[in-house]
């Protein structure tokens, strides 16, 4: 049975025009990490606050460990749920030291045990010896870690993280992200975190729930939502994606390769396939071969690859991530073919 079960949650704010949440359902196994992703206004933070007990849903219910903790009549009070939360701005109590912050939620425990727990947690988050500092004496990354330690201290059944990495700069962010994932693994704590950063969610989560305007668009493993998005929104949310109409795809099909192609989608009334730039590659165009060709419009260097933007017949723009050695120049004409799955092995 799942640890967390969210069934048909709806919520409308008095002043909002449309519902913040509209029949949201998903579930989470124990010890796993789930990411709620979506643009701002997608309802992901509202969902998190309902899980925490800081908001009340209008309809639906939330079950934790088989018991209803939230429904339209309110449910269990926030403090009685055994759910921890890491806030976006960390919300460390400014008037308390790191030690008092971390142990804030720990009660009914002998002083010795508290001290042990404190040193264990500070060790875990890599801040030994910081117990007597005040929050304003810490750096952004350190605050994030203290916030994590504080939320973990009462040994919650479920940990919620609200945009936990958004206040950190890019380099710190990657390090803290990997650390957080490691820490949650070690403590065997299930977690739900909210982010608008797709990279964060792909890197950390075991399961991703993509939301848009209060509805779940897709729920699945990171590979699934990335490589097999169920609709154009999800496809483009996780990075650039090419839309290739079927009448052009005739040529692709003849290549008889399996590639990760997205679902059929409608763009401008035409049906076609969604395909990621890294699933396409460039080939020398051969006369007579039925291959989709395009003229190079723009090339930008992205370190590990070159992003090549081509203009194809029918005013179609296609992006290809080109990783081979040969040079690409603006104005050249190239054939666009899908990457064969065994290409990497054959070298």
């Amino acid at each position: 049975m799942s640890l967390l079960e969210v069934k048909g949650i709806s919520k409308k704010y008095p002043r909002g025009d449309s519902p913040a949440l509209d029949g949201v359902s998903f579930s989470l196994e124990g010890n796993r990490i789930l990411a709620l992703v979506g643009a701002s206004g997608s309802g992901k933070t509202t969902m998190l606050r309902i899980l925490a007990g800081l908001e009340k849903p209008d309809a639906g219910e939330v079950m934790l460990g088989g018991k209803v903790i939230a429904n339209c009549s309110g449910g269990l009070a926030a403090e009685a749920r055994g759910i921890g939360m890491v806030f976006q701005n960390h919300a460390l109590f400014p008037h308390l030291t790191v030690e008092k912050n971390v142990l804030f939620g720990v009660r009914k425990m002998a002083d010795v045990a508290k001290r042990e727990l404190l040193s264990e947690l500070l060790e875990l988050v890599g801040l030994p010896g910081m117990a007597k500092r005040f929050p304003h004496e810490l750096s952004g990354g350190e605050r994030q870690r203290v916030a994590l330690a504080r939320a973990l201290a009462p040994a919650p059944r479920l940990l919620l993280l609200d945009e936990p990495f958004s206040s950190l700069d890019l380099r710190l962010r990657q390090a803290v992200r990997d650390e957080t994932r490691e820490i949650l693994r070690k403590r065997e704590t299930a977690a739900v975190f909210v982010t608008h950063d797709t990279e964060d969610s792909l890197a950390v989560a075991d399961r991703i729930v993509v939301m848009k305007e209060g509805r779940v668009q897709q729920a699945g493993a990171p590979q699934e939502v990335y490589h097999a998005p169920v609709n154009p929104y999800v496809a483009s949310f996780f990075g650039s994606c090419n839309f290739l109409p079927f009448h052009l795809l005739g040529m692709l099909e003849r290549a008889r390769v399996s590639c990760h192609v997205g679902p059929t989608g409608m763009a401008g009334g035409e049906s076609g396939l969604w395909i990621r730039p890294e699933d396409l590659m460039l080939e020398k165009p051969v006369d007579g071969a039925d291959v989709l060709c395009g003229e190079v419009e723009r090339v930008s260097f992205a370190g590990n690859c070159q992003r090549v933007f081509l203009k194809c017949p029918g005013d179609l723009s296609v992006e290809v991530r080109h990783q081979r050695g040969f040079a690409i120049e603006v104005g050249q004409v190239w054939g666009i073919v899908p990457v064969r799955q065994d290409d990497g092995i054959r070298g």
């Binding site: 925490a52 007990g53 926030a78 806030f87 701005n89 109590f93 400014p94």
Partner: protein
């Protein structure tokens, strides 16, 4: 099930909040109840012979005092915000000092000068005749009373305008300077119009304080509405006193409505300019003029009274009145301490518990609690007084406890009048504390009240302390309410100072007066820090 438990935990607070809100309305309710009763000939007599006098005296006093306070407050605020001159930083701070000088104490320091004017009167009579002599004799008390009130109340206008000149209007003022407008042009064409809402806000506080004043006007023999209410009350014409008090309230309500209306408009005009106005350096001549402009009200409103009082203090060393002073001081401390405890507890329920539960009912109660500050002192005094009389007459055994009944009345009156003084800083303090701290505490297993106790209240402790200090000082120096409602033969420092002054024994009042001024200076600290924060 859980949600029901939360609701039932909230219920007692809701009940308390409603009771607190109703308590604030008790004096007004009492006044209304009694005012509609038949008053008979006494009312007719007052209408025929006195009412017009009360009204014109009130109007004239308000116009004079507000005029003086605004001219002084706005011009000094402009000087210290727009120009730089030697001593500017010091004067910027010193100009708050007159706030620590209660009007009746300043009046005590000046009232003996009336006697010194006798040669002047004689000269007028010899030179200009009997009519001029009578006229001058009528005018002089007005000059003194309005001057003293104006010089002690101008910091209200100074404070509200300074923030506008230095911050909000900074961008516009600099733009005007770049467009080639000179000093006076900038002031009249840009700064003054932009400061209008602040002038109205500061001015309405001055109007309120003027209408509530009893000590100053009484010492100089003027009879506007507030002393009129107490005169009727003293004569036993309860219904007449009630009707006059209602009159006063209508007056004040009109002023507050104007202020509200202006504040509503300010929301549009407010710019969130980050910069501070760059001050222009003045040459020696002009700098001297600026220092003089700021120093004159400061000397008249603070330093001269302090200097005279401290000289009398020296003279009265070893006076036999000292033990009486000590007793009165103790009474003041006890009353102020009790009132602060009461007011602070109520403010915590109305502000802090409101935040913890997000209750709308308690928010409404809080708004009602704020109303008390807008009620005229005279109305609160006679409303509570009538309640005490009613209790003594109708509750068996209360007559025996007349003393405790009137102490209860005093507490009630202080509570109604000064609840807002504690609510405002506390509410401002909570505005600065983000919700996430409370929410974090709750996800860590704290109940609503636990989170309040361990997180919110420690975070707003400076605001709590500021509210307590302001409230303490306000009760300590409160004259009008105490004078009417105090038990028989019971004196506080304020009433003792007033009585001595009234009896012409000003020198003997110097020691308690100086003590009171020093205490009021303490009250300036939280006020000035609060103002600084509001400015940000």
């Amino acid at each position: 099930m859980e949600i029901r438990r939360a609701a039932s935990a909230e219920l007692p607070f809701k009940v308390v909040a409603v009771v607190l809100a109703l308590t604030v309305l008790v004096p007004v309710g009492m006044v209304f109840l009694r005012a509609v009763q038949p008053a008979g000939e006494a009312w007719d007599a007052v209408v025929d012979y006195r009412l017009w006098g009360y009204v014109w005296q009130t109007l004239l006093l308000v116009v004079l005092v507000t005029g003086i306070a605004l001219v002084v407050g706005v011009s000094t605020a402009w000087m210290v915000s727009a120009y730089d001159f030697p001593g500017r930083a010091l004067l910027d701070w010193l100009l708050l000092l007159p706030m620590a000088m209660p009007g009746f104490i300043a009046a005590a320091a000046y009232v003996d000068l009336l006697g010194g004017l006798i040669p002047f009167y004689i000269w007028v009579r010899q030179e200009w005749g009997i009519d001029a002599f009578l006229l001058v004799q009528k005018i002089v008390p007005w000059v003194f009373a309005s001057g003293i009130l104006g010089m002690t109340l101008f910091p209200y206008a100074y404070l509200s305008c300074r923030a506008v000149f230095a911050r909000q209007a900074a961008g516009a003022i600099e733009a005007a300077r770049l467009l080639g407008e000179g000093g006076a042009g900038v002031f009249f064409r840009v700064a003054l119009p932009m400061a209008r809402p602040a002038i109205v806000a500061g001015g309405s506080l001055v109007v309120m304080e003027t209408m509530n004043d009893y000590g100053v006007v009484n010492l100089f023999g003027l009879v506007p509405l507030t002393p009129g209410v107490f005169r009727a009350w003293g004569e036993g014409e309860i219904v007449v006193a009630m009707r006059l008090a209602l009159f006063l309230m209508v007056f004040l309500a009109a002023v507050l409505c104007v202020e509200r209306w202006q504040r509503g408009r300010r929301a549009f005009g407010e710019s969130d300019a980050q910069g501070r106005l760059a001050r222009r350096r003045l040459g020696w001549g002009k700098a001297l003029g600026a220092v003089g402009l700021c120093a004159v009200p400061l000397v008249l409103g603070f330093f001269l009274p302090v200097w005279r009082l401290s000289r009398w203090c020296m003279d009265s060393v070893g006076s036999s009145e000292l033990s009486g002073h000590a007793q009165a001081a103790w009474n003041s401390f006890a009353l102020a301490g009790g009132a602060v405890a009461l007011v602070l507890c109520a403010a915590v329920v109305l502000v802090a518990v409101q935040r913890a539960y997000g209750s709308r009912l308690i928010l409404v109660a809080q708004k009602i609690g704020l109303l008390g500050y807008g009620f005229p002192s005279a109305l609160i005094a006679v409303g509570v007084g009538a309640l005490v009389v009613f209790l003594v007459e109708h509750v068996p055994g209360a007559g025996m406890l007349a003393l405790s009944a009137s102490v209860f009345g005093l507490m009630l009156a202080y509570f109604v009048r000064f609840l807002a003084v504690a609510i405002q800083p506390l509410s401002a303090g909570f505005d600065r504390v983000q919700d996430c701290y409370r929410e974090a505490a709750r996800t860590l297993g704290m109940g609503r009240l636990g989170a309040l106790w361990r997180v919110d209240l420690p975070l707003v402790r400076t605001a709590l302390l500021a509210g307590a200090t302001l409230c303490f000082v306000d009760v300590f120096k409160e004259l009008t309410l105490t004078l009417v409602l105090r038990p028989f033969d019971f004196e506080t420092l304020a009433t003792r100072i007033y009585r001595f002054t009234d009896e012409g024994r000003v020198a003997e009042a110097a020691v308690p007066a100086m003590a009171l001024v020093v205490l009021c200076l303490v009250g300036l600290f939280p006020l000035s820090t609060l103002m600084k924060r509001l400015e940000k």
